[in-house]
């Protein structure tokens, strides 16, 4: 566990630098003096962070853990003490009354900024933001916001997925097996899962155009028993050689290891869980956002300037900000994977190219990348983006991408 934290810290440091240079990143040093008197800005010692969690803050893995880790890491980076300056109400179900009650508690404790990490908190966050105008509200995975003290944040996980897809595609070529499995919490019901699957599939196809991604839908965000069972089914019945996943536990990777095939994890580097199978994982560096948001909150003067300081009511970081990434490639990866991923990453970070566009990448076995104009088509044959067209909008990816691209098949 410590290893992961240390690694995330290192990554955070590294991308923190990148973030500073990023186009959308707020210039932390510019904001404060501009419109608010310095005295009104909460001094670092008085600054309090509040958070509403869906699971226990003492979790050691999973979604809540990833956010908690991000928040505490960011606080330490900013010189804040999580032991005294962080108040958390955890295990709050997606029930408006209970979320509002939790928020009241946090406001009562004097929190300056309150993060809500679960999608279902959306209405409560909106209402609370309207009531407590002197507190900043920031909602993860949501889509609501206002122009003053309420924003939302999410990330371009599909970009990291695309990179992981390249590693999976490379491995499938090496194995000579075109079947790739994907254990997903949900399928097309949620844009979050659909976009992740699509990003991964496009990454696979950039390397191996003949590959098919078979998706098994869990119907739940966490279900350890079926996470394992579905992976086994994908390996045994569909002959999959690489197993990717969009679920909390490392069960699919462990199943891949047991079956002697390979896999791409999610959320954290799962190489320690499945050392012989794991290639790389699409990961979130939540601390990147939390640091950005806390800096903005400390420097924006009054709460109603928060959204203005952030520059956008919907933070949507990607590889460029270091918000998402792939974990270090394991030794299991095929030759040329590292070079290919580096090359594509550079293309995305520079803003030259994005995943859901009318241009597809063709990656040769040696890792050279070629851009080719081609329409983006869903697996029913409908054209989503015409050849040469720009990437679909963020709102589509977070909201209405309720289809699979060609090459994805529901298993």
């Amino acid at each position: 566990m410590k290893k992961i934290i240390a690694m995330l810290l290192a990554l955070a440091m590294a991308f923190g630098l990148v973030a500073c240079g990023g186009a959308e990143a707020p210039a932390a040093t510019e904001a404060p003096a501009a419109d608010a008197p310095a005295a009104e800005a909460p001094a670092a010692a008085d600054f309090k962070v509040g958070a509403v969690y869906i699971n226990s803050k003492n979790d050691t893995a999973g979604y809540t853990f990833a956010h908690h880790n991000g928040i505490t890491t960011a606080m330490k980076e900013l010189g804040l003490d999580p032991a005294t300056q962080l108040v958390i109400v955890d295990e709050v179900p997606e029930d408006k009354e209970q979320v509002l009650s939790a928020i009241d508690t946090l406001v009562g404790e004097g929190a300056n900024i309150i993060f809500g990490i679960s999608f279902g908190y959306i209405d409560a966050m909106e209402e609370a933001a309207a009531e407590y105008t002197d507190v900043i509200f920031s909602h993860g995975t949501g889509y609501k916001s206002n122009e003053t003290n309420f924003n939302n944040y999410f990330g371009r996980a599909y970009q990291a997925r695309y990179l992981a897809g390249i590693a999976a595609g490379m491995k499938s070529l090496e194995m000579g097996n075109n079947n790739i499995g994907y254990v997903a919490a949900y399928g097309t019901e949620y844009a979050e899962t659909a976009s992740g699957i699509n990003g991964f599939a496009l990454g696979v196809q950039a390397v191996n155009p003949n590959a098919t991604v078979f998706v098994k839908n869990l119907g739940a965000w966490a279900d350890e028993v079926n996470e394992s069972a579905f992976a086994v089914e994908l390996i045994d019945s569909f002959g999959c050689g690489v197993i990717s996943q969009h679920c909390d536990s490392a069960q699919p990777q462990i199943a891949a290891e047991n079956a002697g095939v390979f896999g791409c994890g999610y959320n954290s580097d799962m190489t320690p869980d499945a050392p012989k199978a794991h290639l790389t994982a699409a990961i979130w560096n939540w601390n990147v956002y939390y640091r950005t948001a806390m800096e903005a909150a400390m420097n924006c003067g009054t709460a109603d300037k928060f959204v203005e300081t952030m520059g956008t009511p919907a933070y949507y970081g990607g590889l460029a900000e270091g918000f998402v990434d792939v974990s270090p490639l394991s030794e299991n990866c095929a030759a040329g994977t590292a070079e290919a991923i580096e090359a594509v990453k550079a293309l995305i970070i520079s803003g030259e190219w994005d995943v859901f566009s009318g241009t597809k990448l063709e990656i040769a076995a040696d890792g050279t990348v070629t851009k080719v104009d081609a329409p983006l088509v869903d697996n029913a044959g409908n054209e989503i983006v015409a050849a040469g067209g720009a990437s679909v909008e963020d709102g589509v990816i977070t909201g209405t991408m309720n289809y699979f691209v060609a090459g994805v098949q529901e298993a």
Binding site: N58, L86, I88, V89, D95, S101, E109
Partner: protein, 367 residues
């Protein structure tokens, strides 16, 4: 050396109080040991817990509003359950009845809200919730009366039926499903808080007393009178005490069972209407476990309506207070708070056992 258990005839009130108090103190001491081992100052923790974080809180009035929001459904559900329990009908289907009541109330809110005057809508919400929940309970009672089925099992299983209906409504994105927010691409329950909700009465300052609180207290008094002084109440105690005797006295036992279970479930439905009517939205966690906690409250109160209010008030302090306390101590999460509540309840139930029985060690056996 052995021991045996002997029934106590009559435990004086002061002794009972001492036993209960002792149980709470013992639980807190146990909790304190755990807290110290986690590196938390138990006195600071307990102070926060019992003051529910109101001390030094700039929005302390919110604490009371939220506290009452938690108290109303719990007290009302416990009172409702006590009706059935008094008759020895083990209705553990409070959760399911609550959920169906909540869905019906929301249904009325969506369909009538904004169309009819608010007062009428609220009244209809209450009625719909009461009838639906009541019928859900009546169904089990009818099966028991007709076929002698076990109501404990039936009500328990129907809890899950109701829960999955609610989960289905919360996940089925479709044109017909007006329970969901049409704007959200992801399925999420729609709010009707802006259309219709139970009004609060300003009490000076920012504190407003929701009308549901007053109604709940009123219903509590009515149920007390109903059980204590009316013919129906008398029938309930006789049927509960001995169905054979009730039958012998010429009571229509089946009718009494059906009527009482309906009433019990209907009041649970009313609690759900209050909850939904204040929250203005459904959720899969809408019950907040009142169907379960209510059983404990009713039991601890020995089905005494006045005591039910006191016990639910205390349990809400415990519940709300531990959440607040857990928020400020990094080492303590809600699971710990729940565990501490569990320990307190367990020991209080143990104390309850000691009020009814005592343990005597064998002085000299045959050896």
């Amino acid at each position: 050396m052995g021991f045996h258990i002997v029934k106590r005839d009559n435990c004086p009130l002061w002794k009972k109080c001492c036993l209960y108090l002792g149980a709470v103190v013992l639980a807190l001491l146990l909790g304190a040991v755990l807290l110290i081992s986690l590196g938390v100052d138990p006195i600071a923790y307990y102070t926060r817990m019992f003051t529910m974080g109101t001390v030094g809180n700039k929005i302390a009035y919110k604490v009371w509003i939220n506290y009452l929001k938690e108290l109303v459904p719990l007290a009302l559900v416990s009172v409702a359950l006590s009706l059935a329990f008094k008759m020895r009908f083990w209705n553990i289907g409070g959760e399911g009845q609550f959920i169906l009541g909540a869905i019906s109330a929301a249904f009325v809110a969506f369909k009538a809200g904004g169309v009819l005057p608010n007062g009428v809508t609220l009244l209809l919400m209450c009625l719909a919730a009461m009838i639906t929940a009541g019928l859900y309970g009546l169904f089990v009672a009818a099966l028991k009366v007709k076929f002698g089925t076990n109501e404990t099992l039936m009500t328990l299983m129907l809890n899950y039926v109701a829960l999955y209906i609610l989960v289905f409504l919360g996940e089925a994105k479709a044109d017909w499903n007006f329970f969901l927010d049409a704007e959200s691409a992801r399925p999420v329950f729609a709010s009707f808080a802006k259309i219709v909700s139970f009004p609060g009465i300003p009490m000076g300052g920012k504190f407003t007393l929701n009308i549901c609180v007053i109604l709940t207290v009123l219903i509590g008094i009515l149920v007390y009178v109903y059980l204590r002084f009316t013919k129906h109440g008398y029938e309930i105690s006789v049927v509960g005490d001995s169905a054979g005797t009730a039958h012998y006295a010429g009571m229509k036992v089946n009718r009494i069972v059906l009527r009482t279970v309906f009433l019990s479930a209907a009041l649970i439905g009313l609690a759900a209407a209050f909850k939904v009517g204040t929250a203005g939205i459904l959720s899969t966690a809408i019950t907040d476990d009142v169907g379960w906690t209510g059983i404990i409250v009713a039991w601890l109160s020995q089905l005494n309506t006045a005591v039910i209010f006191a016990v639910s008030a205390l349990i809400c302090v415990l519940h709300y207070g531990s959440t607040v306390a857990a928020a400020t101590f990094a080492q303590v999460d809600s699971s710990f708070a729940n565990m501490l509540q569990g320990v307190i309840l367990f020991l209080v139930l143990a104390a309850d056992f000691y009020t009814r029985f005592k343990i005597v060690s064998d002085k000299k056996g045959g050896n």
